[in-house]
Symmetry: C2
Subunit: 260 residues, 2 copies
DNA sequence: CGTAAATTTGATACGTTTCAACCCTCGTGG
DNA sequence: CCACGAGGGTTGAAACGTATCAAATTTACG
């Protein structure tokens, strides 16, 4: 029988260290395979209720009793937090394989709204059933915890960005994050379609929609991104590394490429 | 035997709804009791390794292999994230009953540094042993998940603050959060001692130390906080609600008490 | 095709950072 | 005992970055 120990120790934690990856698997990154396996296992073991959603549809609302957690099968979703005095803020973006609703575990009610920004599909799982499955299957519990851990870490990454980067660099960082999310799901990263308005992006990044627009124009100007001919919602990233390094550049005012 | 279902449904999720609380219990808030019980259960069931730490001591460092999670028994700790290009940012503050190290679960290495800002005590628990205990004790698993959920929610609360509040209001919000943390641990909230420098606070709040200083001076000026005669690190909050409502005030420029 | 929404761009106002000076406290060593 | 220096804190003035306000333009959609 599988034990916690055997599951914890010999897993692929040192990504890229040992054994060479066969060429076909290299095309689909490890993260993408992990997501696929997880979705398959959930689908088989727990019979999630699948829901199709369209842009603007709400998956759950703050204050609603917490029963389900959700897994994104396709589409993109925004998580919105609101304060008592009416301020509201996009605090996370979720893609295929990400979970929605963890914030409800703490006190039995969701603490945020989850809204589709696109057509997609979410799978609803009863949290009690998920827990029961985890009690029977240690590997599922480990995976769940890894995903909760990732949720924590991602939030902190966002805080790092908001706290240390200027507007232009935040937008560049946002695009890099988005591209990394796509890369982790086996999709091309040289061309991304933003399905959010400038206002939504700005809210997520803690700045105004005008500043987002100006930052994008600036990034086009210095050549690290391009708009496609299909409109200003489609962005080409000819060199992801160049885009990434211009985030860095903003940190130090005396750098060759002033980003602000 | 206890099942997931019986544990999930009848718990005190609707805080303050039903049954009146006996006067003695009211002195120690529910959250404080929860923390005490949790620490006791961990102490009895898992024999954590206890460590005394002093201000500046590191609990774990980013990149170190993930073996332990830690629970704060006393003191306060800061969690620091650093980016590849050298930016670094305090992304969380932890008090008694909070966990440290969840960020290591995802890929087997810690993603942040945890540093004591004060003398205190942390308990180290092997994550594999904790998991094993959770497999045997569903209630422990539920508690663990609730705390991970809280970690996610708290990070998002911080994002909301950083994204929607001006400097003065962020500092006010920070003080309210700190007071709330104390309240949840049964301590008085009308007098709090900041054990962090202005620079640390500023880093945590995404602003400069001078702005923190100015904001505190402003809050003193409008009367919602006072400095004690023992120094500028001790802050009195005569009316926590007044402090809280001046956060709100900053959101709308046309409000009676302009906070910026 | 027409209207509403979204986006871009400019000019100005505002808030925060930056740079600088000064103060205070505390621990050390002459 | 006091001089001294280091670290932390406060405050001011100027520079900087972003928000705000206001067009003009483009896009989306019934």
């Amino acid at each position: 029988m599988l034990t916690i120990d055997t599951l914890l120790s010999p897993r692929c934690h040192a990504a890229g260290a040992g054994m060479p990856v066969p060429p076909l698997a290299a095309a689909l990154p490890a993260a993408s395979q992990r997501i696929g396996r997880m979705l398959q296992r959930l689908s088989e073991g727990l019979a999630p209720k699948r829901s199709l959603v369209h842009a603007g549809d709400t998956v759950y609302s703050a204050g609603t009793p917490f029963i389900h957690v959700y897994v994104v099968n396709s589409g993109t979703f925004k998580v919105v937090n609101a304060s008592a005095d009416g301020r509201c803020q996009v605090v996370d973006l979720q893609f295929r394989g990400d979970w929605l609703g963890f914030d409800g575990i703490a006190d039995g009610r969701y603490a945020s709204d989850a809204v589709a920004t696109d057509t997609g599909e979410v799978w609803a799982l009863r949290y009690d059933e998920l827990l029961q499955a985890c009690m029977d299957d240690a590997e599922m519990l480990l995976d769940l915890h890894r995903d909760m851990s990732r949720a924590i870490t991602r939030g902190r990454g966002a805080l790092l960005s908001r706290g240390t980067l200027r507007a232009n660099a935040r937008v560049a960082d946002f695009l890099c994050d988005w591209a990394a999310a796509l890369a982790g799901r086996g999709q091309r990263t040289d061309q991304i379609r933003l399905r959010m308005t400038r206002a939504e992006i700005g809210n997520y990044l803690g700045m105004t929609l005008e500043s987002v627009s100006r930052a994008l124009s600036y990034l086009v100007c210095i050549g690290v991104i391009r708009f496609t001919e299909r409109g200003r919602r489609d962005i080409e990233i000819p060199d992801l590394q160049a885009l990434g390094s211009c985030i860095h550049a903003a940190g130090r005012p005396d750098d060759p490429l002033p980003l602000a």
